[in-house]
Amino acid sequence: MAMGLGCTARPGRSRENKTGSWRVFRPVFVHEKCTRCGMCTTVCPEGCIMEDEEGLPVTDYDYCKGCGLCAEECPSEAVEMTKEEK
């Protein structure tokens, strides 16, 4: 690996750190209850909740730390936190 002169780095490298391994509780998105309001995407500190073609939330579990903000803030209680099975 070439050193970044002066301790610099190019974008993209933080993705090598898979923070999903931190997770204790796993958010499960109940699409039947989802109103596509986008709240979960907006509040996710990891920026790892995307919307699929239908506007429904999908999580990148490689990065989800399981903080539970999406479940707490979902106005239609469409996110359930379940104990992570490893």
Partner: protein, 299 residues
């Protein structure tokens, strides 16, 4: 691309913030508002550390960190440099409350007085979190921190929060605003306004810290909302030194906010301290009067 999808584009996943971190939300939301043609100058602090352990960076916009207390001065230089090169990128200086209220105050004041065209954003989590929850000039009255602990002869932090928005407005800043991660659309709107207003602008964002304040990570937004609903944090805008917009609320008693956080637990246990809770209620009452935040309900 939908607006909400864009939110995760410029601040990448894989950063090492605590689960439920408000500062990480701040990074994402402000870049969402400012866009990709933005240069960010960060102070030393939690956000800097959790986003840039070499060789990883979560920043997808040009980003620079120099020292704890010089982000405003570095930003001054960046602004001057861009001007000389005829470049149009926006410049955001970013710091926590320690960097902003305390150690970086000299550089901040100098940069605002000189009128550089940049936006200073403070993510205010009301203590030095990166070093282990020590009090800062932004720590609220009676909050217990590791350097203002509650004890047999202490109720925690002895002084109220420094009024930094007023200080910067007094420098002649054209736009000063407070925001909260509890209200993302409002936050984004204010940042967008700040970066598009010529001259030095300031946005102070309330960023509840689950680790430092003592609450569960999933409650970050709920706690932020309670701060506003109790009048202990006021979301407002100041244009040319005058308050032009304020978020109004039907106020709740301050203890609804205080009792949810470990940093105020000494006010309730081992026994309830009505005197001190009363003093904090008085702070909220003064805020309410000063900013006129109370919604008058019809009887």
């Amino acid at each position: 691309m939908k607006e909400d999808e864009a939110a995760c584009v410029l601040f990448d996943s894989g950063h090492r913030a605590c689960a439920g971190c408000a500062a990480a939300m701040v990074a994402r939301l402000i870049l969402d508002a400012a866009g990709k043609d933005t240069i960010v100058v960060s102070a030393t602090g939690c956000m800097e550390v959790f986003s840039t352990p070499y060789p990883e960076t979560a920043w997808k916009v040009p980003w620079i960190h120099s020292l704890f207390e010089n982000n405003s001065a570095v930003a001054s230089g960046v602004v001057a440099s861009l001007k000389k090169q005829g470049r149009k990128e926006k410049v955001i200086a970013l710091g926590g409350d320690g960097a902003t209220f305390d150690i970086g105050m000299l550089c901040l004041s100098g940069a605002f007085e000189r009128g550089h065209d940049f936006t200073y954003i403070c993510y205010d989590n009301e203590a030095y979190m990166n070093t282990g929850i020590q009090r800062s000039g932004a720590t609220p009255y009676d909050a217990s921190t590791t350097t203002s602990p509650s004890g047999r002869c202490s109720y925690g932090n002895k002084r109220p929060k420094k009024d930094l928005p007023a200080i910067l407005a007094a420098h002649g800043a054209p736009y000063v605003a407070t925001a909260s991660i509890a209200y993302p659309p409002d936050l984004r709107k204010k940042v967008e306004k700040a970066v598009n207003t010529p001259g030095p602008c300031y946005v102070q964002i309330h960023a509840p810290c689950c680790t430092g304040w003592g609450f569960e990570g999933e409650k970050t937004i709920a706690i932020g909302k309670l701060a506003i609903e109790t009048g202990l944090w006021v979301n407002f805008e100041m244009e040319e030194g005058k308050v032009t917009r304020v978020k109004k609320v039907v106020r709740k008693p301050v203890e609804e906010y205080l009792k949810e956080q470990k940093r105020f637990r000494h006010l309730f246990r081992p026994k309830r301290n009505d005197d001190e809770i009363g003093k904090i209620q008085a702070i909220a009452d003064r805020n309410a009067e000063k900013f006129g935040i109370d919604i008058q309900l019809k009887k």
